[in-house]
Amino acid sequence: MIVFDNVAKRYPGGYTALAGVSFEIRHGELVVLSGHSGAGKSTLLKLIPAIERPTAGTVLINGQDVSRLPRRAVPYLRRNLGLMLQESKLLTDRSVFENVMLPLVITGHPPGDAAKRVAAALERVGLGGRGREMPLGLSGGEQQRVAIARAIVNRPSILIADEPTAHLDPAYADEIAALFKSFNSAGVTVLVSTHDANLFAANKPRRLVLAKGLLTEGA
């Protein structure tokens, strides 16, 4: 469950990125967030893992008020989320396997079991057996799939992705979209932002549309 209740975000410079945004996403929904550049999509998504904090209103994730979460508790919130944000870069000095392993290392997962999970996650995104390669040796689409594998390796109940297909050819973009759809079919709540109106069109997802920080559709 993701609940935004009258959420506003004003950045330190004084710019209001979000103004009075309210909506609810139930378990297992597939939601596409769209809007023009600068509409506030990234800002909205960053409020969920408490990368940014709202200046007004409340954000609830599975009943927990993350807008007022103490700093110490934030890591534990993030461990239960699958995140693919602009900040979620791959580490170029680590292999694909090590990149996907990172969330499990952070949670102190037993290494043997962790290795199996990493292999399964890579298999899931169609990169089985490519673990030893380095991220910079992969295509853009493959890199995004590594990032997806890293986001789901902890088996999160919520997956959040900020323009995961931004720099990809349409064919690659559809592959990525199909992956998100399949996670959603397996019961994961998926919230994806995109510029591309055609993406997910076949899946008839619920759409949230932002314009200049206001929710104009989908609430």
Binding site: P75, K89, I106
Partner: protein, 298 residues
């Protein structure tokens, strides 16, 4: 608990990887730390050797207890009982007036004494305390002066005082040196860790996003500091060891010209462990300050 151990093992492995990833930087830092530390370590060792040498040349410091001329066997026994009962004494021996006279005669002064009808020498005890602290000597002497039939107490402590003053001075100098260089090493580590944090910005940010706690992020840097310090400690030990080896021959030869038997002692296991621990502690301290300064909650 096992999770805690696992996380530390990961952090140590991580720190090793980062050290090995830049061998030249690691080597240079270890040399700086090691050479700086070898100065106070060598100084400490030198003082230790001087103390041993002084003890060897001058013998164990003692207190001489001369009894009154009219002291009888019962009085001697009473003083002996008191000496036996004192836990601060490591040993004592009795020199009877007759023994003393014989010694004097043997030393060639017999002719001088020949004219005397009675033995003018008193019975005496030669006492060695455990401690070499001049204050303890003074206190014991004062106490013994108050005992019955003790006529005179002679403190053999002038040289002990001088030696202690000198060694004390030397220790202060070594301590000051260790303090100053230690501070410099903390600064060196502080800076190394600062650079480490800068080059690992991306990894730190991604880890935070994936739910890493502050301790998780900081741990590898602490271990990096500890390992770098310990490596420096090893270099310091090596330097000192080489120094001892180079000086051992000449020092023994020098001692022989004075008729003394003396071998320069290198750092023992406890000293080596102490140097390593001190170096590791400094590394940890530099890392801790740097992490606090450069990784404060963002």
């Amino acid at each position: 608990m096992s999770n805690w151990l696992y996380l530390h093992a990961r952090a140590i492995a991580d720190a090793f990887r980062r050290l090995a990833g830049q061998p030249l930087g690691t080597l240079l830092s270890a040399m700086v730390v090691g050479i700086a530390l070898s100065l106070p370590a060598g100084g400490y060792l030198l003082l230790d050797n001087v103390a041993t040498l002084a003890r060897g040349v001058s013998g164990t410091p003692e207190i001489s207890l001369f009894l009154a001329n009219d002291a009888g066997a019962a009085d001697v026994a009473a003083v002996e009982r008191r000496l036996k009962g004192n836990p601060e004494l490591s040993s004592f021996r009795f020199v009877s007036r007759d023994d003393a006279l014989h010694q004097l005669e043997r030393s060639g002064l017999g002719d001088v004494l020949g004219g005397l009808t009675a033995n003018p020498l008193p019975d005496a005890f030669i006492v060695a305390p455990h401690s070499e602290d001049p204050a303890v000597f003074e206190r014991l002497a004062t106490e013994m002066r108050g005992w019955p039939k003790v006529a005179h107490v002679q403190l053999d402590s002038a040289w002990v005082k001088r030696l202690h003053a000198l060694l004390g001075l030397g220790r202060s100098a070594v301590l000051m040196l260790a303090g100053l260089l230690g501070f410099a090493l903390v600064i060196v580590t502080f800076n190394t860790i600062r650079l480490q944090i800068l080059t690992q910005r991306a990894e730190i940010e991604v880890s935070r996003l994936l739910g890493a706690t502050d301790p998780f992020i900081r741990r590898p840097f602490y271990w990096f500091g500890i390992l770098q310090g310990a490596l420096g400690g090893l270099v310091a030990l090596g330097t000192v060891w080489l120094g001892v080896r180079a000086l051992a021959g000449p020092v023994t030869a020098l001692a022989e010209t004075y008729g003394a038997v003396f071998a320069l002692a290198g750092p023992g296991l406890p000293e080596a462990a102490a140097i390593l621990a001190f170096a590791a502690l400094l590394g940890w301290l530099g890392a801790a300050v740097s992490v606090r300064r450069h990784l404060a909650g963002d």
